[in-house]
């Protein structure tokens, strides 16, 4: 089977699966994206019952808005399906250009680049697994003998479905703890990282301190403990009995005492582990208290205890899981990169080819326009625009559109030059003499020969996109909080340098991904180097 037919088959499968799963109310990883274009609630409320679609056709706009995601999803899957069918039908006669095959072989032979490419593909596949890997909704729940799959359903299960009292969405992490404590046959299977990338904060985590030779220690640490610690009632581990300051593992300074309801009743003064002064008698019997616990507030360091409380890379200062945030950020980067490439390179290639091929007035005017665009300070403009629409209303599409408006110019400039060069060659003249149309000359004859410069640019512009997105978020002018973002994590990390796990996670991930992309870029440049095949005199 030829390459386009294989691609067509996969695309067809994707389109059909997306449409069918949506029809049955399922939410499959990545495929759910097709049907995610809901109208905002304001758009639905503001839409008139009787209005004009695009100002011409009379229609029930309200109804259209309410079903916008169905419509958009159907159109998108339809388009993908159509492309797939076209590929299946017309892809039979496809042959790889031997030149391209040689380039690809050469690319494969460059070890570092090829491995990087495979790694990036692996990352892309992982990113496409989506809620299977990262998310607060459980993959599967067994309750009263029935199996439920909350992560793969569009509408959430309320808590009451699994024995809770409330109508709020079930908290599967708590559910898992509950089932385990009850020792019932009910089970919860969570995603490997059971946290949403955003708006999913952890509670304060108590960590039990151990006593060695009468001095408190953090478990596994040699040095005695310095800092605050709290004791809770044994019968009710939510109510504090006393809070004390420890120095070198011993009580020092003030200890606050609380009553049975957790209200403050008095304090004691301690010195090197000995009671000096007290404002309460022995009202609290020490037998009823649990061990001393350190309360870990966000940002919390990495912890690997139970599945439902585990934070592989710790939490940020908001209490959001960093591993989930990094994963979400990676998804955003991939998503952005795909649309950015299609848009920027689409516009850039067409305009660049036309400029180079036609020349003359068209070239002169369009060159001036791109000069104007390229002299606008880009980051500043993004800031002005996002500040004006309001950070909350910015979407990934807005940011990408602004990016594209400014970045097609570089693609166009490169392509214009090479089209200029190719246009004067004999094979172009030959094609024209044979009666090829202008578009056929440009896109079938010139473009394949001019494209190599552009292909080598591609990885680097993806790297540029990733850094720009991060930089914007870092400065606070990028995407709103509901998008996970490396930039915001980096910002959080630099303002909390005493919590090194934040900044090192972001730094590590970013450097890793950018390095991979750069290695690929270098390998492609080498593989596509025209000097290998032609010589100029």
């Amino acid at each position: 089977m030829t390459f386009p037919r294989k691609a067509g088959l996969i695309l067809l499968l994707v389109a059909v699966l997306a449409a069918v799963s949506h029809h049955y109310g399922l939410s499959l990883p990545t495929l759910r994206w097709f049907y995610s274009f809901h109208a905002t609630p304001e758009q639905i409320l503001n839409a008139p019952e009787q209005g004009k679609l695009l100002g011409i056709f009379p229609a029930n706009i309200r109804h259209l808005r309410e079903n916008q995601h169905h419509l958009a999803g159907n159109i998108l899957t339809g388009m993908v399906g159509a492309v797939a069918l076209a590929l299946l039908f017309y892809g039979g006669k496809f042959h790889w250009n031997p030149l391209t095959l040689r380039r690809l072989a050469r690319f494969r032979s460059i070890g570092r680049g090829w491995v990087s490419f495979l790694l990036i593909i692996l990352l892309l596949l992982l990113a496409m697994l989506d809620q299977v890997l990262v998310g607060r909704r459980a993959l599967a729940v067994k309750y009263d003998g029935n199996w439920y799959f909350p992560a793969f359903r569009e509408s959430p299960y309320p808590e009451s479905q699994f024995g809770g009292a409330e109508q709020q969405e079930a908290n599967y992490r708590l559910l898992r703890t509950k089932f385990r404590d009850e020792k019932s046959t009910n089970r919860v299977i969570l995603a490997p990282i059971p946290w949403d990338p955003t708006f999913d904060s952890d509670e304060v985590q108590p960590s039990t301190l151990v006593e060695i030779d009468g001095k408190l220690h953090r478990s596994g640490e040699r040095e005695p403990y310095d800092g605050q610690a709290t004791q809770y009632r044994e019968d009710d581990p939510k109510v504090a009995v006393r809070t004390a300051l420890f120095r070198k593992g011993l009580r020092e300074g003030v200890t606050s005492i609380y009553d049975a309801k957790g209200d403050f009743i008095g304090r004691e003064a301690w010195k090197a582990g000995a009671l000096v002064e007290t404002s309460v008698g022995s009202e609290v019997s020490p037998a009823s208290t649990g061990p001393w616990q350190e309360l870990v507030y966000p940002p919390a360091p990495p912890s690997f205890g139970k599945w439902e409380t585990m934070h592989l890379l710790g939490t940020d200062s908001k209490g959001w899981d960093i591993a989930a945030g990094m994963y979400g950020g990676l998804q955003v980067v991939f998503k952005a990169a795909i649309f950015y490439i299609i848009l920027t390179y689409g516009i850039g290639i067409v305009i660049g080819c036309l400029q180079g091929y036609y020349g003359g007035w068209f070239d002169l005017v369009s060159q001036r326009i791109s000069e104007v665009f390229s002299n606008v300070p880009f980051l500043l403009l993004v800031m002005i625009i996002t500040a004006n629409i309001g950070l909350d209303k910015v979407t990934l599409t807005t940011i990408l559109l602004i990016f594209c408006i400014f970045s097609w110019i570089y693609v166009a400039t490169y392509l214009r030059t090479s089209t200029f060069r190719e246009k004067a060659r004999d094979y172009v003249a030959a094609a024209r003499v044979q009666g090829a149309s202008t578009s056929r000359v440009i896109f079938r004859h010139i473009l394949p020969n001019a494209i190599s410069t552009i292909v080598t640019l591609l990885p680097f512009s993806v790297a540029g996109l990733a850094t720009s997105l991060t930089a914007l978020d870092f400065l606070g002018f990028g995407l709103p909080e509901q998008y996970p973002s490396w930039g915001r994590l980096l910002d959080d990390g630099t303002s909390n340098l005493s919590s090194p796990w934040i900044v090192s996670s972001v730094f590590g991930t970013m450097v890793g991904v950018l390095l991979l992309i750069t290695f690929i870029g270098e390998a492609i440049r080498e593989a596509f180097d025209p000097k290998k095949f032609t010589t100029y005199q």
Partner: protein, 683 residues
Amino acid sequence: MTRLFSLLVAAVVLAVVPSCKKAAEFESYDNTTERKAFYQRYNEKVAAELSKRTKELQDALAGDLPEAERKEKQSELDDLRRREQRPAYFEEFTEADLPKDLNWETDYDEPELGSPDAKKGGTFHSYIPGGGFPPTIRACGREANNSFRSYHWDDIELSLTSFHPETGKVFPLLADRWAIAPDGQTVYFHIHDDAKWSDGKEVTAGDWMMTFYVYLSDYLTEPFYRAYYGEQYWGIASYGKDYLCIRLAYPKPLAAGFAGFIAPFQEDFYREFGPDFESRYQWRPRPTTGAYQILEKDIVKGRSISLSRVQDWWAKDKKYFKFRFNPDRIEYLQVRDEEKVFQMFLRGDIDTYLLGDAKKWYEKTEVPNVFNGYIEKATFYNEFPAVSRGMYFNLSRPLLDNLDVRIGLQHATNWEKVIELDLRGDGQRLHLLNEGYGDLSHPTLRTRPFSVSLAREAFARAGFTEQGPDGVLRNTQGQRLSFSINYARNPDINPIMLRVKEEALRAGVEYKLEAMDPTASFQKTARKEHEIVFSGWQNQLPTPDYYQQFHSKDAYEPGTKKPRPMTNNINVFADPEVDKILESNRNARSLDLIRDTSYELEQIMHDRAVWIPSYRRAFYRVGYWRWVRWPETFNVRLGNEPEMNHVHWIDQGIRKETLDAMVSGRIFPEKNLVFDQHRRKNP
């Protein structure tokens, strides 16, 4: 090369010379005759307004009126009649004209302030809040109300009387006795015989005449003072040099404190007050009745500004002053970055630092200088009106005009988790609009707690029963429970709002966060264009005020449904029945009435769920180098900052000892003190 060098020199000289220009010289100016004419003109103006309004009221009362309005107009007319008996605003009499039947009182029996152990001398190092250099050292006029003003004006200058910061009672400062006339709003003061300005001149009644002249003059850019002194006072009269009389517009409890709460402008110094007042007085050091003055040489623009203790201060041995205002000099450094201020504090360049931020208190001060006892930490439980911080609903907005929706929102907003997580359990839930007024605050009222089931019950009552796929509740018309919260962008507040948003979704509410620049946020709220705003008022001593915030005259433009912009009624709350309670609360003549009406108002606002109270802190906490010493009880009860009452002192011996110890490696016991004598055991 030489030419290049000389060119360079010339350029440098050219750049420097213009900046060496001497400060502008102002021609001398004497406003005495102008001022006398103003007194007369102002008196005539007041008289004309009085008779005009009287006539209007009389005409209105002669016609047909609803009973409530008639009563209101009649009481206004009665007030006018009383004022017409003494219509002049500015009056000058001699001592012989004083009413004979005055009942003079004073209060030198309140506890002393500060500690007898206090030592005078030394320099106290601090910083200018906000990081910018103060734009002026004037007390009024353009940009005078900056963040530095309280340091050189409010905390330093003395008024006639004030409220004792431990007991809250009226106590004498520049006046040594006072007499309240039977009407409860006219107060006579006698100025202390010893009271002197820092330039040696005597403090006289004329200084207050000048004060009122300045505040009412058109030369001031801010209309606030003209409005405030014109509406809240009926007039001022001097009786010779030593006596004066200030008349309030409403009878009040603690009238002597309210009327006497005005710091004087020295008559001689402000004689040049005229059209160019703002530029003329921009940096002109003024004589003071207080303990510290700013000397001209101590204004180092862009670097620091210092206060020096007045040599031979008139009040230095007086009962309420002798242990206060101890350091010889207070230096306020300009540091642009707050984080740098904190580092300078840890190094010892700055003597004290407020450690309200939990991260600074628990983590960033876990450093050797604290362990070794060079820096001490203290937590002081104070009693001060709490900032009424919370989420205020705009009741003129759809959905928010529904009581059940508002009650649901109160249950849907998880301030408990914010307090537990973001404030590290150091805050406590706020319950009242005016909390921290002792027994004037409602003792038992509790706000509605976070509860998903109660919230959903309330929303169901309002018709919101269906839950969409996004988890947000909607009603049969498709309206969603989605509200935007407007707030001033701030690194400490942002995570809190994100937490509130995250938790509200559990109850089926979507909060959209609208973080704005502080000024823009304030303007949007003032124009009543918000849905919910997260903000707060710093309530003032000694009594709570509900009137400004809830009176219906500030809710809507008269006769329309359009919210009235630029008023403090940010809830757009309007209820004529409640107006009556608000008025009697504001114009109450006894503390009992204020208490009763305050309880009633708190209950009403709770029942109507006009806002979501957030959190408060019952204490302030501070880190200080050990040479800064404090009284046994640390500070005064009624204060929200450790330095504002100047009870601390610098111990030079300890300073030397500490600095030596830091070199030799000697250590002291670590100190982390708690002063909870004013802590409420069961809040």
